[in-house]
């Protein structure tokens, strides 16, 4: 059997979990296996309600007072117990920050392989191979898990599957997993999630974005890109390293830890295209990228790949735009 585990995100099924359901349905149909969906921990009964239409053999509910809020200790213990009980061939989740936080614990507890951040699946007969990006997305690799392993844990990168493809027509079958947790199981204490006060800059509504990466080399060169953005009437944004250096404020950051945008034009300047950045902008309608490295992964998703020195191109382009 295949087990998909749903994650709660502020009251709803996490978007990545919906994609995980599609991954699970696809794997189940290719391998001729049955699919179960586990609703566990925080908000579990509401998740079960929301998932009731999904095509699956059954929905499993695992609730306990001690995991009403997310806890790496509690979640890893409960999921390990479920896996030991049900022996699924594959356990599937979205590659969220929560999954990164607790699923390796399950892998270590049960000595099971965890293939994380998968972008696609191919099949050699009944044997699936899972592709993931490596070396800063410059390469990808196909991974096979050891066939002697009873269970393999999988997490899928966002947009590896589309939640539009969820198959509906679920059965009403449901069961409850008897959760056993005691005080010794939970060592760490989690406080409620919170959002830092934002600046009021909402990049998600911007139609044009000029975004700058580590290729800018120095804080002194930031005004050069700001002038380009101004000449185009665009908002300025950046990849993570620029924010880490303190060259632009964090609310300008695009990517998994920043904002996700889909403007008419995303004009990227000196950004290599690491996975964490690309997940925040690959939905852009048009992408122009300037980079001096012809092999920069950003070019794989760009409509226009400008291979050249941004220090020369940006000032001249700004000048032309101002004419």
């Amino acid at each position: 059997m295949i087990l998909v585990v749903l994650e709660n995100q502020r009251g709803n099924i996490h978007a990545f979990s919906k994609e995980a359901v599609v991954a699970g349905q696809s794997l189940a149909s290719k391998l001729g296996m049955e699919l179960s969906i586990l609703c566990m921990g925080e908000n579990a009964s509401s998740l079960k309600e929301q998932a009731s239409g999904y095509k699956a053999k059954d929905l499993i509910l695992a609730e306990h007072d001690m995991i009403n809020a997310y806890s790496a200790d509690g979640y890893s213990k409960v999921l390990s117990d479920v896996i030991t009980d049900l022996s699924p061939q594959y356990v599937i989740m979205g590659h969220s920050y929560m999954v990164r936080d607790f699923l390796p614990r399950v892998s270590a507890k049960l000595n099971l392989p965890f293939v994380s951040d998968i972008i696609s699946v191919t099949y050699n007969g009944d044997t699936p191979a899972f592709a993931r990006q490596v070396f800063n997305a410059k390469l990808a690799t196909n991974i096979q898990s050891d066939t002697s392993s009873n269970t393999t844990l999988l997490s899928f990168q966002s947009a590896a599957f589309s939640s539009d493809d969820i198959e509906l027509g679920g059965s009403d079958a449901a069961s409850v997993f008897e959760v056993n947790l005691s005080n010794e199981d939970i060592k760490s204490i989690s406080e409620p999630e919170f959002q830092e006060s934002s600046s009021g800059v909402d990049l998600t509504t911007a139609d044009l974005i000029v975004s700058v990466g580590r290729g800018i080399e120095s804080e002194d060169n930031i005004p050069m890109v700001e002038s380009l953005a101004e000449a185009m009437g665009a908002e300025i944004a950046s990849s993570r390293p620029v924010v880490d250096m303190g060259w632009l404020p964090s609310y300008r950051q695009i990517g998994s830890s920043g904002q996700a945008v889909s403007p008419t034009l995303y004009f990227s300047v000196g950004i290599s295209g690491a996975i964490q950045h690309v997940v925040g902008m690959k939905g852009s309608k048009n992408i122009i990228a300037i980079n001096k490295d012809e092999e920069a992964p950003i070019f794989e998703i760009a409509d226009y790949a400008v291979i050249g020195d941004l220090m020369e191109i940006v000032p001249k382009l700004t000048e032309e735009l101002k004419k």
Binding site: S107, A108, F135, S272, Y304, A305, V306
Partner: protein, 255 residues
């Protein structure tokens, strides 16, 4: 307090990455190895904690791999202020996070670290699992993507980064393994005095034997381009003229 910092040597951003003849690994001969970026932040966080506590705490910088690739990493850590280094020598191209974590856990368990810091992920394999796996193997509490830390009596408070600008504080009793997000601090440069002093610090070498892997690379490949990308290259004036045409006439985003 004893703090371990796990660091990894990875190909620099500028390095050209070529698949080798086995198609299971890269040609390391043409690669320049540097310290994984988020590991530098993990080291800085450990050094700042040691300096703030000012109670004789110890920071140990640890890496694994082949001697050629990793020697710079440990020297850099010692020069920045780590008290000693441990090098787990292992020439295998291990790609399974479980195998890698087990090598660390087996060889570090007797050190009884109060804290293990690691970068949130390595920019080569990028599984982002090692710190958590080691924590579980050694019976420690774990947290990931720490963007702020606060040491309290026999526990550490960690501000975890969540998606899209959300955060969460978690409190972990020692021993704890925490992965550190980039941007948490400003990593220092080694001082000349630090570089000179590094030579006199203890650097222990352990022969690490890897076990079997539960997941394997079948083949590395160059990702296919998902779009019909138009290349624009040549002299600067030509590039700028072409870009103006695209912006004005094709995309019509400027007038």
């Amino acid at each position: 307090m004893k703090i371990a910092v796990l660091t990894k040597a990875i190909p620099s951003y500028e390095s050209s990455i070529r698949i080798d003849s086995t198609s299971k690994w890269i040609d390391e001969a043409v690669v320049n190895f540097v310290v994984n970026e988020s590991d530098s932040y993990a080291l800085e966080e450990a050094l700042q904690i040691k300096e703030k506590l000012d109670n004789g705490s110890e920071v140990v910088v640890i890496t694994m791999g082949s001697e050629d690739n990793t020697s710079k990493v440990l020297k850099d850590g010692l020069a920045k202020g780590a008290d000693r280094a441990i090098f787990i020598k292992n020439e295998d191209s291990n790609t399974d996070p479980l195998t890698i974590a087990k090598l660390f856990a087996d060889n570090l368990k007797d050190e009884n670290f109060d804290l293990i810091f690691s970068g949130l992920q390595s920019d080569d394999l990028g599984s982002g699992q090692t710190g958590v796996l080691i924590g579980e193997m050694l019976g420690m509490s774990t947290a990931t993507l720490g963007i702020e830390t606060d040491i309290q009596e026999s526990k550490i408070k960690v501000k975890r980064e969540l998606e899209s600008g959300w955060f969460q504080w978690v409190t972990l009793p020692f021993p704890a393994s925490v992965s550190i997000q980039s941007g948490i601090n400003e990593p220092r440069y080694p001082s000349l005095k630090g570089i000179m002093g590094a030579k006199r610090k203890e650097s222990k070498v352990i022969d690490g034997q890897s076990g079997s892997q539960k997941q394997n690379f079948i083949n590395l490949f160059i990702p296919k381009n998902e779009k019909a990308t138009e290349k624009i290259e040549g002299d600067v004036d030509g590039i700028v003229a072409k870009l103006m045409d695209v912006l004005k006439n094709k995309l019509r985003v400027v007038s």
